[in-house]
């Protein structure tokens, strides 16, 4: 694999990383919830994609709405049952709760779907677009396209709609939001559901070219954390660009160095950002 190919592959998977990192960043930015179960929701989204494909034979047209709905419902359930009481706190208890939920989701997935990796054998996954010496499967390209469109849609939602303004107001100051008539709990419920819907959406497109097994969810968490820190905590476009950077760094490291150590530069990048620019690319130094 040459370097240009690594860049392309990195960019394509980085889009998907960006998509689920947006969800993770949203939960933190609005509610100060560090959702370590986020990767678990991505993994469930992958299974939703897998089964939607098996059942329908059509790739994304069925799996995308199915994943959005499943992820949103799961998010609403998790929020009401567990997270609502931790809003705004980001406490150790909340962190432990999230890790426990992530593990439980993984075990339940193992019981339901078995421990083995499964993948979709779709036509898209085995057809390639060849550009010079580079190539990409249609599944990779479609997943990237979905990620970009979803990111733009979330940005538009947050900055161009009434609900978006309300979410940003709650993120800024939940008590003051109450004082202006906003029901912060209801807005949080919506934001957390969206966060999980985005995770499941990312899973449903990732599974079109990446095999799913229950531990995949936790495996993705470092990416979400690093992408969020690089992009700036709570920033949607930051998390997306953070995801792109993670994808590219990972693939280039894997090509230029060795796949076994592909994550090392990612952690190095995390350390550099934490030391030099802890508020990330799009964060504000004064925030909190």
């Amino acid at each position: 694999m040459n370097l240009a190919q690594a860049l392309l592959s990195g960019l394509l998977i980085g889009g998907v990383y960006g998509l689920f990192s947006i969800g993770f960043s949203l939960a933190f930015g609005v509610m100060r919830i560090v959702n370590f179960a986020h990767g678990g929701v991505v993994m469930l989204g992958m299974y939703v994609g897998l089964y939607a494909f098996d059942a329908s034979g059509i790739d994304l047209l069925v799996s995308i709405p199915a994943a959005l709905i499943a992820g949103g419902l799961l998010g609403a359930t998790l929020y009401v049952t567990f997270y609502a009481r931790f809003v705004g706190k980001a406490t150790l208890q909340q962190l432990l709760l999230a890790i426990a939920l992530g593990l439980i989701i993984q075990v339940l997935a193992q019981m339901a779907f078995g421990p083995n990796a499964q993948s979709i054998r779709s036509a898209w996954g085995s057809q390639y677009l060849i550009i010079g010496t580079m190539f990409a499967s249609y599944a990779q390209i479609a997943a990237f396209g979905v990620a970009v469109v979803a990111t733009l849609a979330v940005e538009a939602l947050l900055h161009g709609t009434r609900w978006g303004h309300a979410v940003r107001a709650v993120a800024d100051d939940a008590e003051a939001a109450g004082i202006v008539g906003l029901d912060a709990q209801r807005i949080n419920l919506g934001a957390f559901s969206l966060s999980c819907a985005l995770a499941a959406l990312a899973g449903s497109v990732l599974v079109t070219y990446y095999p799913v097994s229950p531990p995949v969810g936790f495996g993705l968490m470092p990416i979400a954390l690093i992408a969020t820190v690089i992009g700036g905590l709570g920033s949607v476009k930051g998390a997306f660009f953070g995801g792109l950077i993670c994808g590219v760094v990972e693939q280039v490291a894997s090509t230029a160095w060795t796949p076994a150590l592909q994550d090392v530069p990612l952690y190095a990048l995390l350390l550099i950002f934490l030391a030099v620019r802890p508020f990330g690319l799009f964060g504000r130094p004064s925030a909190h």
Partner: protein
């Protein structure tokens, strides 16, 4: 029975072993401008929080427009027309001036009016139209205070509670803001409850004063009467004089 807009009856608030409010009772009529004063630690902020919905009282009831709102969440009080500002300004710093007003207007604009026109008229009233696209961090303190008042009055606002809105302002800025606040009362009929630390300011604004000391109301009456009340002089003016 005279219809009061706000009735606070026998309200108490205890934090652990500390009694912040001890059986506080008072009532405010529609259209009044009432000042709430008292020395530091008297319980003014606690009373403010309890009335605006930030805290639940330990005992007692709060009625607004004749309805018991003791356990009503803050956002529903705002939608019913009761709004407040904060002693330390709490604007939404990620939103522009216009958006700060818009999020409030969207929640509480009554049927028959549009939230956009509500925002527009509040901006004009407070002379903020030139600042609509600015973020709060780019504004002067006086303008940030105006934006916070704007955010509190857009949509449906029947009662406005101002928590030390004048602190930190220059004399001219304070006079200007007092003018705006009194105009809200005069033009729109908004009932106003102000918490103030500075006596002359509140004497000039309020037509009635409530004095809180150690969690109880020790005086309630016309500013001139209250200023002559020996209990008030001991508790508030006395300690003030002693401190300086």
């Amino acid at each position: 029975m005279a219809a009061f807009l706000l009735e606070v009856a026998d309200v108490s608030k205890v934090f652990g072993g500390l009694v912040a409010l001890k059986s506080v009772s008072f009532a405010i009529e529609e259209g009044e401008v009432v000042g709430l004063i008292g020395p530091n630690g008297a319980g003014k902020s606690t009373l403010f929080e309890v009335v605006s919905g930030g805290m639940r009282p330990t005992g007692g009831t709060i009625r607004y427009q004749g309805e018991d709102i003791t356990n009503l969440p803050a956002h529903l009080r705002r939608r019913a027309g009761m709004s407040r500002t904060f002693q330390k300004i709490r604007l939404f710093n990620n939103l522009t001036v216009e958006q700060n007003l818009a999020v409030a207007a969207m929640q509480s604009t009554p049927a028959g009016r549009t939230w956009k026109s509500e925002v527009q008229s509040a901006l004009i009233r407070l002379r903020l139209t030139g600042l609509v696209d600015r973020k709060p961090s780019e504004l002067t303190l006086a303008d940030r205070k105006k934006v916070e008042i704007g955010r509190a009055i857009v949509g449906h606002c029947r009662m406005l509670m101002l928590d030390e809105s004048l602190s930190g302002l220059t004399r001219d800025e304070a006079d200007d803001l007092v003018g705006e606040i009194l105009a809200l009362n005069r033009d729109l009929g908004v009932t106003i409850l102000v918490v103030e630390h500075v006596m002359p300011v509140v004497m000039a604004m309020a037509r009635r004063l409530l004095v809180l000391d150690y969690g109880t109301i020790i005086a309630n009456g016309l500013p001139a009467e209250v200023a002559r009340n020996p209990d008030v002089i001991t508790a508030y003016l006395g300690t003030k004089k002693g401190a300086t």
